[in-house]
Structure formats: C-alpha cells, structure tokens
Symmetry: D2
Subunit: 344 residues, 4 copies
C-alpha cells in the first residue's frame, strides 16, 4: 500500500526492456542516435504538430526551468498558481535558469487559476514601467498540485488572457498523460490548439525511469534550447537511454494505458473512501491524486496496516493525507487501504 | 572498430543487471533509498575517507560545475589547463553554475599544467585589488584531455601551489579509474592525500549508463551541494537508478577492472601503431586515449574498413586522429584497426 | 506645489557647496580619498558602532540589492512587505544581485509587516527540505511605502522573529532620516540595537544629489561588499563627489534637519487636509508621505492651481493621491495646496 | 605633477557650473527631465545618426557591461584584447551582466588586436557545436589600455571580420574623445560607419564628475537597455545631474577641447622624454597615456619632486611607469616632470 507519490514506483516493464535493448553496441550519443529521431517523429504525431522541436531531459524540474527560460527574460514575471510545482518544489530552479525572473502567485480554489484570479494578477503586475518587472510568461500545471485538472477549454481561456497581453504560455505536464485520460482531450487540444507554446511532457511519474520531453511548437527556439540544456549539464552523452525510455513509453500508447490504470485506481480509491463515513475529499479527484480528510485515528490504523503516504495538516479532531496512485497500483492495494482506514 | 569516444559504448552488463534489479517495487526516492547509503559508504571506503559527502549526478558537466560552484565565488578565477573539458566542452556550464566565474587558461605541454605555468598564471591574475577577479579554485583534469595522466606527486605539487595562495582544488575525474590504473595510485593518494578538496568521480565513460559521483572531503559543504543540485534540476526522484549503477560499478572493483581493460586496449593500440612506419603519437598515452598521426591515405583505408573515430587537424601530407578505447573494446578491434591502417 | 516625490527636489545648498569644493585638484579615487575616511568615521559615530563597514553607492536600488546579496543565497527567501520597494519598484534588482533569490510577500496593514503576518510567512516557507527555497533574510522598509513608520520596538520584534530562525535582517532606509525624526529614535536604536545587520542609509531623497550609504555592522563582510559593488559597476573612480555629498549631509546633523523640515511639512499638510470636509488619510502619516482621499473634483481644482503629485485608484465618486513633502517644501506650498483643494 | 590617471582629476569648470545650475527647483527625474532630451539630440548630432538610442550611466564599467549584455548571450564568447579593461579591470562585471559570457583574450602588440590575431581567435572558438560557447560579440577599446589608438580603417577591418561571422561589435570609448582627437576621425567614422553597433562614450575620464553615455545605433534595443539599467541599479532618480554633466560636456565641443588639451600634454611629455638619454616608450603614444622606461634612479628623483604615477615592472637596471595626462594637466607640470626625471 504505497501512496506517497507516483515517483516512488519503478518503471514499466516495457520501458525497462527497451533500455536493456538499447544497451547493445556502439552508437552516436548526445541525441544523435537514431532512436531519438524516432522519438521526435512519434511526439510530433502525438501532438499532431509536424514542426515541433522535441528534447529529452531527465527531470521535471529541468524540463520546466528550461522551457520557462526559453520564454522569460530575467526581468519577467512568470504567472503561475501559488501552489505550482515551479513555485513550491523546485528550490528556485526557474529563477536560476531564467537568471532571476519573478514568480507571481495566482490564487484560485482547488489548485487552479481562474480567469478572474489570473486577470487580477495580470492587472496588478507590470504597470510600473521600467521600475517593476515586466509581464513575461504564463505557466499552467495540469494535472494540478491539488490533483484537479484543467479542461482544454479552461486552458484555452487562461492562455487567451495571457496572449491578449502578449504573453506566451507553458504547460507543466509532469502528469500530462493523467490529465488527458481524465479529460478525454488529445495532446493537441490540451496544448497548441489551446494556444500553449511549450510543454513539459512527463514520463518519470508515469512509468519511466527518469525522462521528460520538452515539446516546443516554435522550431525557431530549438537551438537556444539545445544550448541551454547543455549549459545546464543536462545533455547526456549516452542519450540512448533517454530515447529508449521515451520510445517505449510512446509505443502503442503505453503512456496512456499507464495513466488510465493510475487514474482508475484513483477513482477506485475515491469511491472506496466515499463509502466510509466521515471521509471527505478536499478537491475533486479526476486523476491519480487525492487529498482526503478523516476523523482522528485513521493514521494509526493505516500505519498498522503498512500504508505509506504523506500526511497533511488538518483541523483538530481530523486527519488529512495526500494519496497518489500510479500505473502499478493494484485494486487489492486500494481495497486494502480503504479497509484499513475503515478499521475492518 | 569504434574509437570515437568511451561514451559511445553502452554500459557494462553488471551495471545493467543492477538497474533492472533496482526496478522492483516501491522505494523512497531522491537519494533516500537504501542503496544510496551503501554507495556513500562504499565510496568512503574507496577514498579511505570516512567523512566524505557523496552525491550522484547524471553527467560529467554537472559534476564539475556543481563541484566548482561549491568553491568558486562569482568573482573568482578558476585555473585550469587551456584544453580542459570545463574550458572547452561544457558550453559555459561552470560560468552558469558559479554565476559568472572566470576560467583562466593555464598552458602546458601534453594537456598538463606544470608548476611553472600554474605559478605564472597565479602570479598574473588577482593582483588588481577590487578591480580584477580574485584567485578562486584550481581544477585539474586527470586523465587529461590529451590522454596523459598526472601522478599523485604531480597533483600534489600543483595543489600545493594553489593552497599556498589559499585556493582549494577540484579534480575532474571523468576518467578517474583510467588515471588510477595508469598510475597505480589509490583514490586517496590521487585526491585528498594530495590536497584535493572535491572530486568528480566518473562512471559514465567507464561502463555506466549515466552517473557520476561528486565526492566532497569537507562534509560541511554537503547541504549547500544538495541545494545546488536540486536547483540545477539534477535531483532525480527515481534516484534508485543512479545508485544502482554506482553500486554495481563499485562492487568488486568492477570500475577498476573496466578501466584496466580500456587502458590495456589503449596500450595494445599504441604498440600496434608503433609497429607501423610513419605513425607517431602526439602525447604519451598511458591510459585509453591516443592522438596519432600518420601519412595521408590512412583515413581512407580506415574508413573503408569501417573504423570510426574523430579526425584532427594535421600538417600537409599527414593525417591525425583521436582514438579512444573503452571497457568493451576488444583485442580484435584493435588489431583490425592497426591492420586496416597498415593497409594489410 | 510639487508633491510627486522627494526625489524630484534638487539637493540642499550645503551639499552642492561641498561638491563644488571637492572638485579642486587631484586626489586618489575609488573611495581612497581622505574625505571617505571621514565619512566612515562620521557614520560610525552616528550609528555608535566603531566597527561598522561603510560604503557609498549612487542609488537606493543598488544599496538594497548589494546589502541583500551579502546575506541572501541564490536559493534564499527574502521576507519583505508585499508593497516594499525591493518587491515592487526595482525591476528585479534584488533577484539580479542575489542571482535569483525569491521575495516572499508579507502582508500587513498600512505597509507594515506585523509579528503575526511575518510569523505566518516564516511558517509557510522553507519547510520543503531541499525541494523548496530556504529561509534567508528579513528586509524591513522604514519609512514604509505607505508613509508609516516602525518604532525601534517594532523593528526589534520583527527582527527577533527572524533571528529565532537564524535569519539576518536588512533595513531599507531610503527615508531613514525621516523615520528617525518621526520616532525620535537614534540610528543605533533603529538598527543594530534592534538586531539589524545591514542598513541602506538614504541620502538621495533627503537633499543629496545621488548617494546612499550601506552600513554593515559585521566588518567581516566588508571585502565581499567591495567586490560586489565593483562587479556591479558601482565603484566610482571620482568617488570624491559621493563622499563630499555624504560628508556635507552628515555635517552638523544636516540630514536630520532636512528630514525634520520634510516631516514638518508633512504634518502641516495632514493638518490642513484634516480641516477640510471629506478628506481622509488612508494611512497614518507621521513622516513625509501622505495618501489622501477626497471627493471627485479635487484633482481638477489642484491641476488648475498647478499642483503636481501622483494620483491613485479610488472608489467611485472619490479621488486619491500620494503626496510627498521634502526638505525644500515650504509652508506656502502646503497652504496653497490645501487652499486649492478646498476650492478657495 | 599628477600622472596617475585621468580619473584622478576633478571635473571641468563648465561641467560643474552646469551641475550647479541643474540643482534649481523641482523637475521630473529618471531621465524624463528636459535636459536629457537635449542630450539625446546632441549625441545624435555628434554621431550623425538621428535614430540612435542614448542613455547615461555613472561609470565606464557599467556602460561596457550593459552594452555587452545587449548583444551577448550567457553562452557567448566576447572577443577582446587580452589587456582590455573589460577583461582586466572590471572584476567580472561583463560576466555578471551577461549572466556568464566568456571573454576570449585576443593578443596583439601595443594593446591592439590585429586582423590576424582576431581571425585566429574567431577560428579557434565556437567550433564545438553545442559543447562549446558560441561566438558572440567583438569589443574594441579605443584608446587602448596601452595608450595606442585604432584608426577608423582599423576598426572597420576588425568589425568586418566579426560581422562576416555574424557578430555585432562594441566600442569601449572610455577615452573616445582622445581617440578622435588623435586620429582626426569623426564620431560616426569611428563607430557606425565602421560597422560598430554600440558605443561606451566616456565622459568621466575627460572632465566630467561621473557620466558615460551608451549610444546604441539600433533603437529596437532601447527598451531592453532601460530594463537592464534599472535592474542593475543604475537608473538615477535625480538623473538631472547626469544630463547636466553630459550637456555641458558636449556644449560647444567642450569634450573635444578637453581631449585636445590632454593629448597635447601627452605629446609634450613624449617629446620631453624623447629628449632625455635612455628614456624609451614601450608603445606609440598618440593620445594621453604613455608607458615609459628609464634607467634605475628615475623613480627616486621623481618621488622627491612630488610626481605621482603608477610604476610598472621593468627589466633589471631599468624602471617603468604609466603616465596619464588629462584635460587639466599643464605645460608646467609636464616640464617639471621631465626636468625632475632628468635630474635637473
């Protein structure tokens, strides 16, 4: 019963097999291996965008930071939800890679910016002429840090508000597959058709060892990205292991199947918890991350049963937890968790 | 016949097996997995330094850059050979991670700084008071970019010159194992016993998929390193795959055996070339990298035979090549290469 | 009737005379001129701190940025009021000089942090281990951007909260003299006796041409400050003109007399406005900056009378203005302003 | 007898008078004062370039750094003579403002790059693809740090070599007026007509208190410059004192007359020294800076006579000095110096 994070799982067997296979023999490196050309083509197909530039990096933090650095100047404001990963969980990596851009916390319930809160933030920042930072980039996280999702229409509405002021948009898709599965959207609908300029396309949390693609819809940005990636120390000499992971991840829509399993287990967990008296969810949970609250005593029962997850602050008499399912979460694990919490 | 680079090889079977095994089940990430504790202990043993802080990163560029950033201020001069990897091959990553330190090119034959050239550089820089950059760090590459090696005594002499002016020292050991095998030195002799403060301990070029250890002999620097690594986007959530590689690499001295094979093939190649008329080596070649020169026509014969390597500028009528052997270079490959060059 | 800003005034005659006098002959530069030694001594006397390091720079923005860069790491959080000059009016200069530190907006009425809002911010930030930015520095602006002041006791309480978590503190004293006059505090009481580590001691807004002192109570930080100042391009070769300004500014407590005049005019303006029906102040105004609100129509009357000031957003039917007095504001100007607003 | 530096002089009386006059009354600041519009127009006239963007900053270091930051990326190589001010005397300010660009030392006799040495440097750097830094900007110092000058034809030849590889060019004109006087060139001939993109137009060393203009021939770069200047803390609120200096400096070609006086005194000094046995000049000295060598004993005689200057390393039995004249050097000072050295 492991619900701490989707990155506490290993990798999918298909991915591991591909990595093993890629080990054989000599090959060109640094992304010049043939597999990378196939990955690029495959992601262009997935995104229905034949000109997209595609690069692989090992972590979500650097995918986001390099993507933002392509579009933000050092004196830019980056608009993102107050709880966004880039704001809370990257130790200032976006500030490092942009040479000092400023993150502007946009509020909104359930981890989501709203047209109103984004407009308010856009109105508030960038009016100081040369004395203040300038409006720079919008960054949307989908699945959000609260486990909720934006529909393509919601993404499009936010992006349009940004674009009306001349701002490009980034989508942090560390859990991109989960967001697509939850909304039924295509990759194109969720990104460039909604006006998004650059995407962090996550693999690590959804069955890879450690690989994320950065998909840039304006190929004129490609060379700068390559330089920034190298300068950040993220260009792998034995790049073959990144492309092997990503190729297997995309092959036969494995990425969507893995996310579907994770989301299904999230739904099963939500349903199980709903059947228990006094258990509430803080946010809608359409994907694979739930924030649940229950009466005091649940933690002890779950600990005894061997469940692992992060607890959260809660009101007196209550307890709270973040619960994340992954592609390798089983029905039995979910059911055991619910039973343990119920004290069965 | 693949002699382009040791990073064009795949990984050793032992390493791959360990990575597969590490895939199983849930585990804590971000270096908190148990395997990382074992890696730390093992590297402390290897370096005979029970307090060393040990961290894993995926590339040599970031190992060097983070190590230097621990010791250099933005206004520091970093003294390194003019041909050093940090100076020529990292797209300014050291400048990025140090927020703008200045690399000072130290000359010297065969890719090696000498006490004289280092002293001259130290004398030349840092005399301008507040108007000029300040002396900051010494960085020594071993094996050098010319394929030569420093003995521990040579390292110690350079480090002492730096230390006499208050400068700490970094050792870029992307090919550290090859340097130890070539000199017969221990890890401790080559580093902290010679006064070195921080080491980039390479794995990628010598049989790993992509992992380098940074070994810091002053544990007070550990937390800052962790922050810098995270902020650079180099902290892996599924860190288990880094520790698995490094654990297997160290197990039973695999790392030294792999380097011994690479060096032996380098020696065999040198010997083979020496037997051909008109072939000369530009530098001594005690490890696994040779810079050879021969009469025009060799390239064509080798290309026909399917040999791969980087060619180098050469005088008229001559041709030159950089030839790198690796842990998986075979005697047959070496012999075929020599035969092809000979036109047999 | 010029109330736009205290930096729209020229300089005090005493300051200009000193600058003229300093023009004579050759002298050493870069702060090595004799006048700078006298300035250092005089500021040590003013602050009753015989070891303080003292440096001059030309703008408040760089005084703040260099002071913060001495104490903040790139991965630090800097805690400051949401409306602080460093947060709103410096185009990200603190982020630039710190290489990417993150400003944390602390709320609080009337431009002032409270022990509660600061504690909340300190509690909220820096709990993420290596994943989040680290608590770094507290920065207090006094006089605040709302024209209010902190007493030494209030400064001390905030600084103590920071210090309890290991954080040093900076005081942005662009209007430091006005704050001392308003509170009756000594320079020492307002700073190091309250635990402050570094002060931006403003001159420009209070009768100088363009000079601010950075006063650092830990002399061990002095050399780093000098390097950062030079590297920022702020070390003047003809530094004599900075030291001449500051020497005249301090001579015979001119600085306090200038601030007393500015504050007296602020009080006179407040009193005059209070005598008019329907005029309210948004914040207490103990120094030289007022935020006033009145019924619609006031702007038109004032414009006709030639008054200059910044207008502010206001509710429907009302108008609002920021009004700043300076050392050269006269009683007649104040009275004319009030009369014009009254429609007399 | 003060020959340490032209920045050890005070300011010209005309400049001081203008600064005094500018003190009167309230005015808009931050460069929005009327005087700045006149300065802009006047410099456009001087450079015969009606669209040039013109900005004022207080030091030569920041003029250079901001100018370079407009054209260099963080991963750029900046080509400059090994002895250039930006390379030796700015504590890494160019690296700071460019976020880590790399200065490439171009050799050449008498402080001047030659077409051959520049071509060699351009050939040597930027061939590494993504692995190495990229060719970025050429920076030419005129008057050079050796006191020599480039003619417009020489500037043009170097700039053309850079431009052929796509590189823009910067001219560090801390002693721009001296260079024009020495060569008889116009400002336009020395800069944009020779292909230069951006100029640091010095005032401080030639009779101002502390002001330099940055002249940018592509007005599309203007807004970025304004942001970079503010972010660096170099935007003066009481900007009137900068524009007053520059306006007076340009008025009636004062700047050229001051430089003519400095150069004339340099020529007189050169002639005087040439009349002494055993005194040699290391470099041609067409402007206001001489590097002289004489037999041991000269230093003692000059010190006794009260002469001030920087001494330089010299061969055994010889002594050397850097001697700089300025707009306020008198014939008597020069003659006294020569007499003192002669031992008269």
């Amino acid at each position: 019963m492991f619900f701490t994070s989707d990155n506490a799982s290993g990798a999918a067997p298909e991915v591991m097999t591909a990595v093993m296979r890629a080990n054989d023999g000599f090959t060109r490196g640094y992304g010049a291996e043939e597999a990378m050309a196939r990955v690029t083509q495959r992601l262009r197909d997935v995104f229905e965008h034949p000109e997209a530039a595609v690069y692989l990096v090992p972590t979500g933090t650097v995918a986001n930071s390099l993507a933002l650095a392509l579009y933000a100047q050092p004196w830019s404001a980056i608009f993102a939800h107050a709880d966004a990963h880039i704001a809370q969980d990257e130790c200032g990596a976006p500030e490092f890679y942009t040479n000092g851009a400023k993150l502007i916390a946009v509020e909104g319930p359930h981890g989501k910016m709203t047209p109103q809160t984004l407009t308010a933030a856009l109105d508030r920042v960038g009016n100081g002429g040369v004395h203040g930072v300038q409006r720079g980039v919008l960054s949307i996280t989908n699945v959000t840090e609260a486990g909720t999702v934006y529909t393509p229409a919601e993404v499009s509405e936010l992006v349009s508000l940004a674009r009306a002021r001349g701002l490009p948009s980034h989508l942090d898709g560390a859990r991109f597959a989960n967001a697509l599965v939850a909304t039924g959207a295509t990759a194109a609908q969720m990104t460039w058709r909604a006006g998004v300029d650059v995407v962090s396309f996550g693999g690590t949390k959804n069955g890879c060892m450690g690989v994320e693609a950065v998909v840039i819809f304006d190929p004129a940005k490609a060379w700068e990205f390559e330089l920034r990636r190298k300068r950040g120390g993220h260009l792998f000499s034995k790049h073959r292991y990144l492309s092997a992971q990503m190729e297997a991840y995309l092959e036969g829509d494995l990425w969507l199947r893995l996310a579907a399993q994770a989301n299904a287990m999230g739904a099963r967990l939500a349903a199980g918890l709903a059947g228990l008296g006094g258990v509430t969810l803080r946010h809608p949970a359409p994907a694979n991350m739930l924030f649940a609250e229950w009466d005091a005593g649940g933690h002890a029962r779950l600990a005894k049963a061997g469940a692992a997850y992060y607890d959260m602050p809660a009101p007196i008499g209550r307890e709270a937890a973040r619960l994340v399912t992954s592609f390798c979460t089983t029905e039995a694990e979910v059911d055991d968790f619910v039973a343990a919490l119920a004290g069965v």
